[in-house]
């Protein structure tokens, strides 16, 4: 019994890219490709490198929304890079995310508990 495409495989923890980006950029100014690599190292990405096109678009969107500030870095050597940093508005958004993430964690905890109980108290089922 396979669930190759089933959401239960947890392919990615979607919709958390934005708080992750804000967190990364709250400490330092980075360009998109570096954000991409740092994201890949976070558990929310499950060891997989997130889709580059999606991350770059999210960065542009967040810049448009005023959460990030972007500036072109045009070195004489090498390709142009766009460096992003967090705006005050972005910081406020991250503070709000903090509360939201805590609520998410609690909600998932409740669901985990209920699921465990539903599967049987003493059952250690293994999924294929």
């Amino acid at each position: 019994m396979e669930f190759l495409d089933c959401p239960c495989t947890g392919k990615s923890l979607t919709r958390l890219v934005r708080p992750a980006v804000l967190t990364l950029l709250a400490g330092e100014t980075l360009h998109g490709y570096e954000v991409l690599r740092r994201l890949a190292a976070m558990r929310i990405c499950g060891g997989r490198r997130p889709d580059a096109a999606g991350v770059y678009r999210t960065l542009r969107d967040m810049e448009f929304e005023g959460l990030l500030a972007g500036a072109w870095d045009l070195p004489e050597q090498g390709p142009a890079k766009r460096r992003f940093s967090v705006t005050p508005r972005g910081l406020a958004c991250l503070a709000r995310w903090n509360a939201t993430l805590a609520e998410y964690q609690a909600a998932i905890g409740q669901l985990l508990e209920a699921a465990g109980a539903a599967l049987g108290p003493a059952t250690d089922r293994e999924a294929s």
Copy 2:
């Protein structure tokens, strides 16, 4: 500074409707409207009643995928109801969800920690 439509408000913990449905139906057979009400009481729905159209569609999809079994209940009194129960395949899926949810929880924990550190260790920021 408002974030009425920003994902940071955590309007809903999306993509967890399926494990929640499996959990609810693992214990008993319910019809769609009852599933809807029980979902509304779970933290993943944040106190809001989830969209009915979406839940009914999810139930149909999961039936089509063999995770749920549906049967029409046609009482002499009252409207027709469709009663859903979990199949063995659905139970296996739920067992897998169990592991996925635990990973989600840990991943969010890591993100929360990083976000807290990024906002400043001793800072108790309040978002409007």
